[in-house]
Amino acid sequence: MIEHAFEIRLAIPDNEAYTALATLQRLGVACDGIARTDIHVFGFEDTADASGLEAQLKTVATIFNPNKHRLRAREEPRPGAGEVWVSSAEVPAVHDRVTIGGVELRGVRTAWRATSWRLLDSAGKDVPEAILDQAVETLLCNPAFQRAIKL
């Protein structure tokens, strides 16, 4: 199975990210900014053609609204430096067909999603890893049913 990841970012103010930032600051986590992105990861059979997926995702109105979202393919189906993905801890099931919002995604056999979080300092740079870990433990991930994935 080959995985491809896409991020869907809000192009308008992100209220959820603001709430997370305010809560983390109140909990004593040293950060000055936060970036949140929805991540969708799709698995294809090794020989399948995934080239049309990005265009197809832009037709799924339940996850993408061109007026307020920006969608782009990630280079790798895993978090980058300074980033954590929080997702369900369950292993994604393999399906004959995968649909999202009523749209069948051609060739897709597995699908899972995560929330990407990056914490930023006052200069807009990623905070040290220990601070990101603190945020994960105190707020961003409930280990009872979620996992936190880092590079």
Binding site: E16, A20, R26, A144
Partner: protein, 258 residues
């Protein structure tokens, strides 16, 4: 003098009035208090109820932000003093996120969750029954219920599936499983579980028995007219206004203050 119970209202709470009405009918004085209220009235209540809804819009995940709200400082302190605390639906999610229930971890470090429903994380709105799984005497909140009591209620959630590690689920099954989903006659089985909840769990309780987290809404089946349409036997308006099974849950909660 009637006991005083605070029903906390977070941004996004939506069941506070039904909950207040059911509690008042059961004999307690109720104050609806905003979660940003720092007055002594909020701190000096005899008990606390966290109602259903979508506190803080369920941002990050259901109950996560509310569990760190300053109002929960009051609730956690009250729970640690042994005061009755009840969380319904979203309130139950908050109690698990705050670590008060099942209470096997430190405060604000959850060891279990009411996670997205299975299959598919779909929101479910169905009439259910829940059966008491612990001896009523185990909890002051439940002590007025009979053994194996069956309570009717409405499920209305997208995230009500109990999830935890295997070890934690074993602990929950031994000591913290208060109610499971059941048939009206109390029969249990996976066919009665609307959300894939582990152990068929509908409600968990802490070790001391004073903090209860229940996912279905008994306050939405507190009077006959709230029953599912095919259960209604009322022929007159008067009959339709009679107490229903859900009110027995609140009457038992009220007796915790006796």
């Amino acid at each position: 003098m009637k006991p005083k119970v605070v029903v906390y209202v977070f941004p996004g709470t939506n069941s506070e009035h039904e909950t207040k009405r059911a509690l008042e009918d059961s004999g307690v004085d109720v104050a609806l208090v905003r979660s940003d209220d720092r007055t002594s009235a909020a701190k000096n209540a005899d008990g606390y109820v966290l109602p259903g809804g979508f506190a803080h819009e369920d941002r990050i995940r259901a109950g996560a932000v509310a569990a760190h709200d300053r109002a929960m400082d009051v609730v956690i302190e009250a729970a640690q003093k042994g005061k009755p605390v009840l969380g319904i639906c979203n309130g139950a999610q908050v109690l698990l996120e705050s670590g008060l229930v099942p209470g096997t971890s430190s405060a604000r470090r959850p060891s279990a969750a009411f996670a997205p429903n299975l299959p598919g994380g779909r929101f479910r709105c169905v009439h259910v029954h829940v059966r008491l799984m612990i001896p009523p005497a185990r909890s002051a909140l439940l002590s007025a219920l009979p053994n194996d009591a069956v309570i009717p209620a409405w499920v209305a959630h997208g995230e009500g599936r109990l999830a935890a590690s295997f070890d934690e689920l074993a602990r929950v099954e031994r000591e913290h499983l208060a109610f499971v989903y059941s048939a009206p006659d109390g029969e249990t089985g996976p066919e009665f579980v609307p959300n894939g909840s582990a152990l068929g769990a509908a409600a968990l309780i802490n070790k001391a028995g004073n903090v209860l987290a229940i996912m279905p809404h008994p306050e939405r089946d507190a009077w006959a007219y709230m029953h599912r349409y095919d259960l209604v036997s009322a022929k007159t308006a008067q009959e339709a206004l009679q107490p229903s099974g859900g009110i027995t849950f609140f009457r038992s909660f009220a007796k915790a203050f006796a």
